[in-house]
Structures are given as structure tokens and as C-alpha cells.
Amino acid sequence: MLAYLVKRLFQAIAVMFAISLIGFAIQGNLGDPLRELVGQSVSEEVRQQLRDELGLNDSFAKQYLRFLGNALHGDLGMSYFFKEPALDVILKKLPATLELVLGATIIIVGLSVPLGVYTAIKPNAIASRIIMGISILGISIPVFLTAILMIFVFSVELGWLPSYGRGDVVYVFGYWDTNFATLDGFVHILMPSLALASIMLPLFVRLIRAEMMETLQSEYVKYARAKGIRPYRIYFVHALKNTLLPVITVGGVQIGTMVAYTILTETVFQWPGMGFMFLEAVNRVDTPLIVAYLIVVGFIFVVTNTIVDLIYGLVNPTVNLARMGA
């Protein structure tokens, strides 16, 4: 187990290295830091001198090591546009994005488990067929289209919900600004989280249904039935536990995927999170911010995947560690 743990951590570090290398390559090739600093009006000699001072004439390896050293100290350069450290800019936007992911996760977990279990228990009921039909429709609608549809119905036509921004946010712990503290904030986060959940929810309903149907065929469920345990206890206590293991694994990986989909949702709802900021940074060719986003998002992916793999290795005794690379 320890060997597996060490190997898995080593892999995570290797991937982070690769990401930092990509980030560095982008930084070196995208835009000119000198022009951002001094503009066009400086003579060539002064430019060369500045390049030397900034270390832009050093070898690739030397520059990369310096970049890496700074990155490990949390210094990812100054944003050209905000004139602030890029990492600070991103971390300020992080709560907005994470709250969106949190809201979507609550919706997904709250709905997918009962719906998935129900469709597995009664696969031929009309309600199950409707749920499965809606789920395949849900998979087929891109998240931005769901978002636009919701804006059109609830904001433009009915005027019930606000269509953009975060509304009233409250600072908790001095740093984290939350949407869940006021009614206005809550109303603002409702549609974006629903839109973000709409892409994952059908996947999870189908996954839980498939796993649950398989579990219900197993011997121990039959035995529990023969013993005369009430059906709902079998479904929700005995069977669901074993269903959730693969669901949690997939779920952990999907959290990373959801960060990607936040870019789409944030764009439609003009939600002031990381994804919206990233697209703005791309339009302004704000290289340090682009690189910082790449590294922060890469970090989120690597951390969630590593944790999910480790939990999976710990929880599931039947998992073959050798096959997973231990």
C-alpha cells in the first residue's frame, strides 16, 4: 500500500512538472514582457540591458529553473492588466468558481441518488422511462444551451431570476466571499448551478442506475430478500453502499471536469469566477494570468485525481494494486 501511495504521489509530481513546463513554454512564447513593462519608446540598447537584467537572455534551463523556483514560492508573475500578482487575482476569483461547483454538486448528489435508485428498482415504470428519456436529452444538450434556455425562460420571459453576476456576497473568514449567506446571493447562484449540474446529472443518474441494477442481481441481495428484510432497507442500506463506490470514483474525476464546464457557465451568466477571468485574460493576451490559470487548474485536477485514486485504493479491498501501477 505504501509503495502504491509513493508511486501515485510521484506520478502527481511528475504531471505537475509537465504542466509547469508547458506553462513556462507559453510564458516564453506568448507576448513580450519587455513591451508590457516599458512600451515601444525605449531605445534598443536600453532594451538589451533590460533583457539582461530581467534574465531574458539566459539559457532555457536557467530561466525554467527560476520560473519553477518562483512558482514554488507562489510567485507566478504580475498580471499585465490588473497590475497585481497573477496568483492573487486568481485566488480572489476562486471562491466564486468553487461555490458554483459546490452548488452544482449539491444538486447532482441530491437528485441523482434518488432518481438513479428509483429507475433501477422499477426499470419498467412509466416514471423511470420518462426519467431515462429526459436524461438522454440532458446529455445531448450542451451546457451553454441549457444556460441560455434558462435565461430566456426565467429572466427574459418570466423575470423571476437575475441573469448575470453574483449579487450580494458576504465575506466569511475575512477572505471567502459567499453566495449562500443572503437571499439575493442565493437567487443569483441558482440558475448557474442548475445549468452546470444539467450536464453531469444525467450521467450520474445513468451510472447509479447501471451499478444499482448490477448490485441488485448479486447473491447477498437475494439472501437479504430471502431473510425477509424490508425492501427499502435492502435498497438504501445494503445495495446502495456497494453502488456508491464506483460512483464516488467517477464523481471525483468529474469534479475536475466541472471546473472546465464552469468556463462555459460563467461566460453565459457573466459569473465573476476564474473561468470568466481566464477568457478575458486570453482576449487581453495577459500571459502571466493565462499561465497562472493553467497551473492552478492543473493543480486542482492533479490533487482531486490523486485523492480519488488513493481513496479508491483504500476503500476497495478488491482493487488490484499491482494493476493500478503499485
Binding site: Q11, I136, I141, P142, L145, F152, L264, V268, N305, G325
Partner: protein, 313 residues
């Protein structure tokens, strides 16, 4: 003498008599989806013939014609069946051309995925050892990053690097490349599993003894065993690729508004949704959803027929 001679059934009759065609005929959802898909595909292929206007020709962009509603709403112009977009182009023609682009990018990207994934899967499974574990580790890492995320970052950086003019010119190729490369592990894993299962069987040994080279054994003897999962994956992947392309174009990282795919058309209409011109977004949106939906339904049916246990999320 000649009456006892049995000719082996041709490939076509074998397909026609297989269970697949039978179950296809008995499944109204599959037949309906197939019909709709064929209609959309035909419309896409023959877009230049069907479309009343050429949306790429600046002559047909008249700002005076912009934002006409579809014909069934008051204030429309009868020559534009589905109305016009914000630049005064006929929406029906633009949708036909956009569908063509979306389908083309989706199919080409999946062809690229399949080619890469099948080759890598065959090599990993057949050679085994360190090559195998290295390639599969790469597949794990590639899969752990969401395709959309990789595509967004790659296209954003490319766009910033080349400038939007050059980028727009080659956007089709960039999209195919990035969607094609990002999803190869889906195929590689399936193919590798087949190779590992088949490699030790006797018919492979006999092929080797006959002196066939490894490439021939891999492609002609082992690969046909994984055709049904490859079919199932491909259908789902085409649907996903079309959605990815639309999402990227929506973000402005794909097809430019001058040469819109369905995603960029929806994106340009989104700015006008608050002023009431809903059709610029809604009609391409419906086409996109119907296209992806029928492909997904076909994929669902195919999975049930070919391999009910394959799908797990």
C-alpha cells in the same frame, strides 16, 4: 455435382441476416433516429445545393436585412424562411452550412481519435512490458484531464499566439486536431484489452507460425475482435465531439462568425436574446440538440445490441 456446391454467403447477406438488422427493424426509436440522422447528414452534404443563399459570400450580408424573424411571425420577409441573423444572412442557409461544418469536424475528430487510439492500443497490447505500462500511464493522465479543459487552454493559447486572423483561417484544423488528440485513450484502452485477451489464443500462434508479420496479425486477426466496442465508442464520441466543437465555438475559440458552425451561430445569437431575436439562438440550438440526440439514441441502441455490459459512465 454442382448442386452440392455451397457458396459462402456474401458479406452483405451476412450483415442483413445478423441479429443487428433484425433488432434495428424492431426498434422504432433506432429507426426514427437513423432517419433523422440521415436527413440531417444529407442536408449537410448537399448544403451548397439546397441553401438558397451562400452565407460565406459577403454579397448576401446586407445589414438592412438583419434580424428578420422566421416567416410564421409578423414582420418577416418571405424570402428568409427561418429569418436572418444579426449580419443579415439567411438563417436557413447559414444553419445548413453550419451543420455541415459541425458534422465534418465531429467525424474527422473521431476518425483521428480512432486512428491514434487503435494504433496505440494495438502497440501497447501487442508489445507489452514497459512500452505498455508507459502508454497506459499516459492514457490515465490524459483521461484525468477533461478534454474540454485541454481544448480550451490549447485553443486559447494558439489563438493568442497566432492572432485571431490566422487562427480563424485554420480553425477547422485546430479543432479537429485538439478534439482528436485529447480523446485517444477511450479507444486505446478498449483495443488493448482485446489484444491482451486474444494474443494468447491458438489462432494467433498459428498465424505467427505461418509467418505473418506482427502488423498483419494485429490488424487482420486481432483488431476485428474489438470492432463492436469500437462502433459503440465511436457513436458516443461523435456526439461528444460535436458538443465539444459547439462549446469551443461558443466561447469564441472555434469557428469564427464569418464561417459559423452551429456553436458560433448560437453564440452570435446570444447577444440578441435580450432584444427579443430569439430565433438566431433557438433554431441552430434545436438543430444541434436534435443532431446530438439522435446520435446518442443510436449509440444507446447499439450498445444494448452489441455489448450490454460495456457502458459504465
Amino acid at each position: 455435382m454442382s448442386s452440392t456446391e455451397i457458396t459462402p454467403p456474401s458479406r452483405w447477406t451476412r450483415i442483413a441476416k445478423s441479429g443487428m438488422v433484425h433488432s434495428f427493424r424492431r426498434n422504432p426509436v433506432a429507426v426514427g433516429s437513423m432517419l433523422v440522422f440521415l436527413c440531417i447528414a444529407m442536408a449537410a452534404v448537399f448544403a451548397p445545393v439546397i441553401a438558397p443563399f451562400d452565407p460565406y459570400d459577403p454579397i448576401n450580408m446586407d445589414i438592412m436585412n438583419s434580424e428578420f424573424p422566421p416567416v410564421w411571425i409578423d414582420g418577416s420577409d418571405p424570402q428568409f424562411v427561418f429569418g436572418t441573423d444579426d449580419q443579415g444572412r439567411d438563417l436557413w442557409s447559414t444553419i445548413l452550412y453550419g451543420t455541415r461544418l459541425s458534422l465534418l469536424i465531429g467525424l474527422c475528430a473521431v476518425a483521428l481519435q480512432a486512428f491514434l487510439g487503435i494504433s496505440i492500443g494495438l502497440i501497447a497490447g501487442y508489445i507489452g512490458g514497459r512500452t505498455d505500462s508507459l502508454l497506459m500511464r499516459l492514457a490515465d493522465i490524459q483521461l484525468s484531464f477533461s478534454t474540454l479543459m485541454v481544448a480550451i487552454i490549447f485553443l486559447a493559447v494558439t489563438q493568442a499566439m497566432f492572432g485571431s486572423e490566422t487562427f480563424n483561417q485554420y480553425a477547422v484544423y485546430f479543432l479537429i486536431a485538439v478534439i482528436g488528440v485529447a480523446e485517444w485513450p477511450q479507444y486505446a484502452r478498449t483495443v488493448r484489452a482485446t489484444v491482451l485477451a486474444e494474443k494468447k489464443k491458438e489462432y494467433i500462434d498459428s498465424a505467427r507460425v505461418l509467418g505473418f508479420g506482427p502488423v498483419r496479425i494485429m490488424v487482420r486477426h486481432i483488431l476485428p475482435n474489438s470492432l463492436s466496442p469500437i462502433f459503440v465508442i465511436s457513436t458516443v464520441q461523435v456526439a461528444n465531439a460535436i458538443i465539444s466543437e459547439a462549446s469551443l465555438s461558443f466561447l469564441g475559440l472555434g469557428m469564427p462568425p464569418s464561417q459559423p458552425s452551429l456553436g458560433s451561430l448560437i453564440s452570435s445569437g446570444f447577444d440578441y436574446i435580450f432584444s427579443g431575436s430569439w430565433w438566431i439562438t433557438a433554431i441552430p440550438g434545436i438543430v444541434l440538440v436534435v443532431l446530438v440526440l439522435v446520435i446518442n439514441l443510436l449509440g444507446d441502441w447499439m450498445r444494448d445490441v452489441l455489448n450490454p455490459k460495456l457502458y459504465k459512465g
